[in-house]
């Protein structure tokens, strides 16, 4: 385990004048050199956490620890932490060079050293040669890069990014996601990224904190959170999903829509009411009456990679399914899914209880890499083929055996008739 760089101990934040609590008893530890994301809707308190780390806001209660030192009373300019603001906050009265050089100039670093490091920093964000450019003449993406270069020039311990990509258009945002991730990995600086965009959070982070109403609802790796959301809020917030009310009959057996299904979860009371999540990409279509149940296609949207199909079952529950095939609106088809696709969420379960239960009942999928995965798939396929061949062989063997027996019987009969004939002749 790497060194802890930032720790929150029971931090809360209340605005006295309006008596609103924006952070409720937040505790967490962040390790050095990782990419963290605080994900939540606006007003969930994620930016407040960032501002408390940066020193722009004071925590009402609790301890904020940076690099083993309590920094609650340390002013913002004494913290080895830099922020990239949503509006970039580049100084319009300075050119690109002076903006990037700001932190070093303040420290009184020698001019030659500044020039060297500014050009290094600009090279890292691929803006070399832009030194003399005026800030107002830059595009959104270029401003973003200058803001990054300015923040990394004196290698802070932690870089805080406040909705930093939100102002960019879709294509540029995707490019910047790759670049930020690469930059973070090559610099080894701890990044704390705040966003309301779940896709962005899942794409870039080592670890995601999901926030709602001043509390951390769930934290984990992006895959953990996507595959095992703790509650309705998270399941709904992260990706698209089908969420249904159900009942846990017993371990590994769940009931919803008046039907019992095999599942892989357990550790709940018998007949406990729960919620079931099934991701749209885990469901496939079958012929009517051949799946788990039938649905009627209502609408579909073409999403590029797939069709997003909305269908209703006989209980009028809405089902969202991803399919590469185009559906005919109004047709009735069957739905099928694996027991692993059913994820069970208990109502009002705390994060600790949830983690313990998941550890006990759900198998962690190991990352094997693409090549390994292809190999495994190939091996499975080969095994399937061998199985089929073997079966076919066995069938033929059986057939030959059958043929032999028939032959034998026929032979016997022939012999017998011959015998009787010869008998008659006798």
């Amino acid at each position: 385990m790497s060194k802890t760089i930032i720790e929150f101990k029971n931090v809360s934040k209340t605005y006295a004048d309006t008596d609103t609590t924006v952070l409720k008893d937040i505790s967490f530890e962040l390790e050095e050199g990782k990419f963290y994301t605080l994900l939540g809707a606006s007003g969930s308190g994620k930016s407040t956490i960032l501002n408390i780390i940066a020193g722009l806001l004071d925590a009402t209660d609790g301890d904020v620890i940076l690099d083993d030192k309590r920094i609650n009373d340390l002013p913002a300019n004494k913290r080895n932490v830099h922020t990239i603001f949503q509006s970039y906050a580049l100084f319009p009265n300075m050119n690109v060079f002076d903006n990037v050089a700001f932190a070093l100039k303040i420290k009184g670093v020698d001019k030659k050293e500044i020039a060297k490091r500014v050009s290094e920093s600009l090279k890292l964000v691929r803006l070399d040669g832009f030194e003399k450019r005026s800030i107002t003449k830059l595009s959104g993406g270029q401003k973003q890069r200058v803001a990054i270069a300015r923040a990394i020039i004196d290698r802070p311990k932690v870089l805080l990014l406040d909705e930093s990509l939100s102002a960019l258009d879709m294509k540029l945002r995707k490019d910047m996601q790759y670049e930020l991730r690469e930059l973070q990995q090559s610099l080894g600086i701890t990044f704390i990224f705040v966003t309301h965009d779940q896709e962005e959070a899942l794409a870039m982070s080592d670890w995601v904190f999901i926030m709602n109403e001043g509390e951390i609802v769930q934290s984990g790796t992006p895959t953990d959170i996507y595959d095992e959301p703790i509650n309705h809020f998270v399941a709904d917030f992260i990706g698209e999903s089908n969420i249904l009310n159900g009942k846990m009959i017993e371990d590994y057996l769940v009931e919803f829509n008046g039907q019992k299904f095999e599942a892989v979860d357990g550790g709940m009371r018998k007949n406990e009411p729960i919620e079931v999540v099934i991701r749209p990409e885990d469901i496939w279509f079958t012929l009517p009456n051949e799946g788990k149940f039938n649905v009627k296609v209502d609408t579909q949207l073409f999403r590029g990679v797939h069709y997003e199909i909305v269908a209703y079952d006989e209980f009028n529950n809405e089902w969202l399914i991803h399919s590469t095939h185009k559906a005919i609106v109004g047709e009735t088809v069957g739905l099928d899914f694996d027991p692993e696709a059913i994820h069970i969420m208990r109502l009002n379960e705390s994060e600790e209880e949830f983690d313990a239960r998941i550890e006990e009942y759900v198998e962690e999928e190991e990352t094997v890499g693409l090549a390994k995965a292809v190999e495994e798939e190939n091996a499975e396929e080969e095994a399937a083929i061998q199985e089929a061949v073997k079966e076919a062989l066995e069938n033929t063997m059986e057939l030959t055996e059958l043929a032999e027996t028939v032959n034998e019987i026929l032979q016997k009969q022939e012999n017998e008739t011959e015998n009787s004939e010869s008998g008659d002749h006798k």
Partner: protein, 262 residues
């Protein structure tokens, strides 16, 4: 077409109240007391020690008034932007401009006079009555007081438009409060300061009422000189010459304090 019709009053105004008076002023400045065309007015102005001293006085006092106003107004404007009901407080500062200048001047005569409230207070402190009215100090004080709203307003607007995140970013990047002020806040509010300086310095060059009522005519500025020439000595030519010099000086100041865009 209709747009042109709407602009007619504007052009009429500009022609009759700006261009024609300026042209008449210029024309008048080339005539002596007897109505003969001459350049002597200008020659006299630039060779006479009295006029040059008066010019120097005008510039010096306008400068002192501007600096004093700026020193008071900048912190005021800055504090105002941080207040909750900033528009209300701003209005309170602008309010005195609604009162006639002459009335304010008379009010100050009452306050600074020998038996005015300030002297009463000094008496109470045991310092004794002092001459306050008709001193340079009282002149500068009152002139600055009158100019403050015109300085506060543009600076307030500039500071109010300043993105808080720029200040945050500066602090975040390691700058102390003082460094943030010199590197970020001051440069970014300079346009407001320039506008304020224009609004205070230029009128201060030609102040004449206050020089008499509060300054007791001890300070003679170009404004006083113009008034004297037109009303007392009836030398309109010389008065116009001084006025032309003032106009040119104002143009120079406006040029120097022009808003910079890049």
């Amino acid at each position: 077409m209709t747009k042109r019709i709407y602009s007619v009053p504007y052009f009429l105004w500009i022609v009759f109240f700006v261009i024609v008076p300026l042209a008449m002023l210029l024309w008048q400045s080339f005539f002596d007391l007897n109505g003969h065309f001459t350049l002597n007015n200008y020659i006299l102005y630039f060779s006479s020690g009295t006029y040059l001293l008066m010019t120097w006085n005008s510039i010096l006092y306008a400068l002192i008034i501007t600096v004093a106003t700026l020193v008071i107004s900048y912190p005021v404007a800055y504090v105002l932007t941080k207040l909750k009901m900033k528009q209300f407080w701003l209005m309170l500062i602008i309010l005195p401009t609604w009162v006639n200048l002459l009335l304010k001047a008379y009010a100050f005569i009452g306050i600074f006079g020998k038996y005015g409230s300030v002297n009463n207070f000094l008496q109470f402190l045991g310092i004794g009555r002092t001459q306050i009215l008709f001193t340079d100090l009282s002149f500068i004080l009152v002139a600055s007081y009158i100019s403050i709203p015109f300085m506060v307003l543009p600076i307030f607007n500039a500071l109010n438009d300043l993105d808080d995140n720029l200040v945050n970013a500066s602090r975040d990047l390691g700058a102390s409060a003082f460094q943030t002020f010199t590197q970020v806040i001051w440069p970014l509010s300079l346009n407001g300061v320039r506008a304020g300086v224009q609004a205070v310095f230029i009128p201060s060059l030609s102040l004449f009422m206050l020089t008499r009522l509060i300054g007791g005519n001890k300070v003679i500025t170009l404004g006083t000189a113009v008034e004297e020439h037109f009303l007392t000595t009836q030398n309109w030519g010389m008065g116009s010459t001084i006025a032309v010099v003032l106009v040119v000086a104002m143009l120079i100041v406006m040029r120097m304090t022009k808003e910079r865009r890049d």
